[in-house]
Subunit: 124 residues, 2 copies
DNA sequence: CTGTATCCTCCAAGATACTG
DNA sequence: CAGTATCTTGGAGGATACAG
């Protein structure tokens, strides 16, 4: 028998309440993974994230910059060169993101099977 | 210097591509945490999730059921009694959710500080 | 190359009221 | 108690075209 739930378990000022916000961004996790090994250029990021539009990538990067997870650096030179890299805060997210991806890789089939099995049983 | 990014790093059929989907649900993570210690009733879940509307909670629970993360059990008896519990698949998510919450607890202040510091520097 | 400017569609999520 | 029904709003995210 579980104990009663703490009403303040998810107090509005508790960080865990806000936890999902950063992951509501569809591309945020993938962008962070792309920066794992070092700085990348805008066009480099678009390679693995093939289905992202320039506009969506721009938005994601802006949100990540605003939250101190990514830094943008404009390198001087004849042709334009902009780099994005993880901040220390961003790097601290890597283990969490990896865990998330590992879970997906390990259990995604189960989830899809369950979804198929429940077709018609559970309303959409 | 990082090596070039693998174009198939996030292949459309790769689970990690779909990873963020489950966390796009604002309440999913919190519901799962509420079920950590055992089955809970609908009204019990509404206690810690004070700001959730009945309708949103219903929707979240339906999605979680559809994906095989939560099961719904209707207990017979004179008065109505419905319980929600984690499936084994749902339980396998717990460590990941905990990691997410721990990260938030540890770094949320940094994120908020960065957000404030970048006010005006980065467009919203 | 690195974005911006528009426009559009879809859906998450809240408010409110109601039901067996 | 455990939801459903309806309506509304906001914002995410894609398409397309254009700019410095």
């Amino acid at each position: 028998m579980p104990t009663p739930l703490d009403p303040d378990m998810f107090d509005p000022v508790c960080p865990s309440t806000l936890m999902p916000l950063r992951f509501a961004d569809k591309w945020a996790g993938m962008v962070i993974r792309c920066l794992e090994q070092g700085p990348r250029r805008f066009s480099e990021l678009r390679v693995p994230l093939r289905s992202v539009s320039a506009q969506s990538l721009t938005t994601s990067l802006r949100h990540l910059r605003r939250d101190g997870i990514v830094v943008r650096t404009e390198r001087p030179g004849p042709e334009r060169h902009v780099e994005y890299a993880l901040t220390p805060l961003g790097q601290s997210m890597l283990p969490v993101i990896e865990a998330l991806c590992a879970w997906s890789a390990d259990h995604w089939d189960e989830l899809l099977d369950a979804r198929e099995a429940s077709a018609g049983q559970v309303r959409t």
